[in-house]
Symmetry: C2
Subunit: 125 residues, 2 copies
């Protein structure tokens, strides 16, 4: 079984440095690679947009980072928000706007964009 958050914190741990730490996969594979890649699907521009909009909105203690391959390529462009560990597939700026507003501002979930436990790359389940 996968660990839940509460399994891994210990008494005395420092509080979370960021309230929400977002990682957008910006890995790029060569054109034609069978797994594709998030950057080839446009993730870099979406990450830049998300970072800029988070700043404009003044969301406190939110950090938007690029990351290397998160290994859910087939379901990307993929991003994850920690500590809650919620994954989304983002395809458009409108998707990013909805995550910023619903998840990062209000603590909700954008159900239509969620990756689920079933979204596992072939051969890795």
């Amino acid at each position: 079984m996968q660990a839940k958050n509460e399994d891994r914190r210990l008494p005395g741990d420092p509080e979370q440095y960021y309230a929400a730490h977002v990682f957008v996969c910006c890995n790029r594979r060569p054109d034609g690679h069978k797994r594709g890649s998030c950057a080839a699907a446009g993730s870099e521009a979406l990450r830049d947009y998300m970072k800029a909009r988070a700043k404009e909105l003044g969301l406190p203690r939110v950090r938007v980072n690029m990351a290397g391959c998160l290994d859910r390529c087939e379901f990307g462009p993929a991003m994850v928000i920690y500590p809650e560990g919620i994954w989304y597939k983002i395809a458009t700026k409108a998707d990013v706007d909805e995550i910023l507003e619903t998840h990062l501002r209000h603590g909700g979930r954008v159900e239509r964009l969620l990756l689920t436990a079933r979204d596992i790359p072939p051969g890795k389940g």
Copy 2:
């Protein structure tokens, strides 16, 4: 105040996809930049080593990723392990080995390498 993990999970959230998701800052600034950078301090080789060793050790559901600037440059090379949100400064392969063994294998903390809530870049507190 900073959010704790348990503040941000909702009933019905999928379980964590990775048991431990490690992000090593691999941002590189030009030589002589006043903030320095983690890559200039050797983080890329440490990330490569950590990824390879985690695989060799067969640690289940552990992912080691590179990341862009985590914005704790002055205290780096910086890395963070989610969902628990524990930050470390890594300088040597021995540091990485200790984190792999103590934290990632056994769920403990490497106290001597921890970043604390006080490790905030100048002007950002």
